[in-house]
């Protein structure tokens, strides 16, 4: 594990990560689906607890019940909807989530061992900007469009801090390769000595999943916002996409901040999954604790608090890294 990192090339993957055949992409999608389902089930259980309705077991089955309901429901269109863009936006979220997860190594195996995996992840999360806005735009409805704009406003606030938060582990590892970053955390997780970056990263994940405090784009006050006009399969795809993004974001935190597959007893792929589920559970739980961050207020927080904090974190990490080498 402690090999010189700068030489771990994507082509000659070395012992850090093994690239598996592209056909395993199916497995990526399966894992993503399972994680998304787990997140939805946990959210169902927590919701039922606060509403004190139904048993926990029934609540865990809630996402499946909702899915069956949406499968049975008819799709609808609105007057002069831009159907092409509308549907693209919804389906694209799932694709973006799968592409994010593709660069995350599961233990030793990865589907796509890109040399610039970290930047790749970032590019995919920027895709979400476009996709969510398109869902809001396509419906040709005022509420949905307001939701779309709210998401962009949030995006302007969280995206730059998120980018600089991702820079910190990359500096410390001296590589943009995800496997190399995971391998660089020998003994000490990055989350432990760059907590600000980790926190900002988690905020960013909630941001691009339109989750919890970043959900005004889907707010009650605009009748569901972006999804106000969605029904049936289209709504199912959008909701699945959100949970998938949340899951992909949680999975990416593991190699970046939580030591990848490192851990006692269990094999490394199992540790990766356990850590992913832990981060996912944290994100799902956090939704219950926090009210929404209104975009107009959050903008200043993003630029005047989070961004400088992330930059200072980067500087500290850079200094420590130079000093250690």
């Amino acid at each position: 594990m402690g090999e010189p990192l700068l030489t771990s090339l994507p082509a000659a993957a070395g012992p850090a990560v093994v690239t598996v055949a592209p056909a395993w992409a199916v497995a990526v999608v399966a894992v993503l689906g399972a994680l998304a389902l787990a997140a939805a089930a946990l959210d169902g259980v927590l919701s039922a607890r606060s509403a004190s309705a139904g048993g926990a077991l029934g609540a865990a089955g809630r996402p499946l019940g909702e899915a069956s309901r949406l499968l049975r429901q008819r799709r609808r269109t609105t007057v002069q909807a831009d159907t092409l863009l509308w549907r693209t936006g919804g389906a694209g979220l799932l694709v973006a989530a799968a592409l994010m997860l593709a660069v995350v190594p599961l233990g030793r195996w990865t589907v796509a061992d890109l040399a610039v995996g970290v930047v790749w992840f970032n590019a995919m999360d920027v895709m979400v900007w476009a996709l969510v806005w398109l869902v809001g735009w396509g419906a040709n409805s005022a509420h949905a469009l307001v939701g779309g704009y709210r998401f962009l406003a949030h995006g302007l606030g969280y995206e730059l801090p998120l980018m600089f938060a991702l820079v910190a582990p990359a500096i410390a590892a001296g590589s943009l390769n995800v496997g190399a970053v995971a391998a660089a955390q020998d003994g000490l997780w990055f989350a432990a000595w760059m907590p600000v970056a980790f926190l900002v990263y988690l905020l960013g994940v909630a941001g691009f999943s339109v989750w919890g405090p970043f959900a005004p784009a889907l707010g009650t006050d605009v009748a569901g916002g972006v999804r106000a006009e969605l029904s049936g399969v289209d709504r199912l795809v959008l909701e699945t996409g959100r949970y998938a993004l949340l899951a992909a974001g949680a999975a990416f935190a593991v190699p970046m901040f939580l030591g990848g597959g490192a851990g006692p007893l269990l094999p490394d792929w199992a540790w990766t999954l356990v850590k992913t589920l832990a981060v996912l559970a944290l994100l799902v739980w956090a939704r219950r604790r926090l009210p929404a961050l209104r975009p107009d207020l959050f903008m200043e927080i993003g630029w005047l608090v989070l961004l400088p904090a992330a930059l200072v974190q980067d500087l500290l990490v850079a200094v420590v890294t130079v000093w250690r080498s």
Binding site: L46, S47, S50, A51, S52, A53, G54, G58, R62, L64, G65, E66, S68, R69, L71, R72, Q73, R74, R75, R76, T77, T78, V79, Q80, A139, N140, S141, A142, H143, V146, Y149, R150, P213, A215, P216, G219, T220, D221, V222, A223, G224, R227, A228, E229, L230, S231, G232, V233, R235, R287, R288, R289, L290, P291, A292, L293, R294, D296, L297
Partner: protein, 380 residues
Amino acid sequence: MGLREVLARSAARHAHVLVVEVPGWDGLRMATERAVLERGWRLAWSPADADVLLVCGPPGPRLAAAVDLVWEQLPGPRVRVDVLDRRDLPDALAGACAGLLDDDHHRRDPRARHGAQDHGGHDGPEDHDGHDGHAGSEHHGDHDSSDDHGGHDMEMSPGGIPLAEGGDDRDGLEMDVLAVRLGPVLPHWPAGLVLHCSLQGDVLTGARAELLGAEHEDGDAADPRTRALDRVVSVLALAGWDDAAERARRVRDAPATGDARPTTADHPTASPGLARLRRRVRRSRMLRWSLRGLGPLTADDVRRLGLPEDAGGDAYDRLLHLLDDVDEPAPPGGRQAVPVDALADPVVGLDLAAARLVLAGLDLGGLSAAPAPRPEATRG
């Protein structure tokens, strides 16, 4: 066949219900919400999300027309239920559940829909094709030839939707003004209220409020305590804090559970649930940060607009005030009715989210259709 049935049963167990409240029937609406949640169903936020449309009370003619428009937008399989009495609720919900499972009916439904709208040539495919195009969305600019925008040349209107007109926004930048009608069917929205707004982006640059009334007045009104807690639920839900809103709903519904009609005069002393809710709301810094300074009203404003006296301060003050005074017995004779015109003024100049929060925090229990219509309130 088996799979279809399993799917249908599972779907009916998880139905989403859009509850429409007729002004003066909020007690029935809250009882309905409770019954819906107890069934394991959910409350829908928009027509697109709903399987069941449940109307609480007898809507007056204009409100009925608005509800019909909403009914057109339910994607289907859909069931509509009208309830007038709490005692009918269990039967009504059971009937709705059975209605959701009636496959034959739902297969015929879209055809009837298209026929009714003179949409010939549609064979009504079995599933997955609900072109409820005509009704469009009532959330969407009001393209029902209302008086909001006269003088549009219809040549410039693709699909019958007039193009937006320009107007200066609050930064002095000319931007398109969208005429949007908010309400009367929106979650956490005062019953029967319609706000004709001019929107620039999501900022309200002008508004005119009106009230769509009930068919007759002898409603099923909630007691003041429940009503106050209901407003807490609304404010918390609109602030995006679902969990706290859920708990507030539990507190709201607590005294009435198992009791068909709670008495108005006596209430139990502060329940542990209420105390916990108070603590939780007070402790949340994020909530304070989010609501502080929203829609500030001075004592003068309150008097000028005819709002209740305790409406001063900002949205956060009003929420705390509300929580603290839940157990204060209301003055006998009730409050003076709030003129509906007063509602436009505090929200003009705010963005949509803020406007909703401000409206939800005001005590609009006795909303009255104002006698003298005033010109549209506009603020840069």
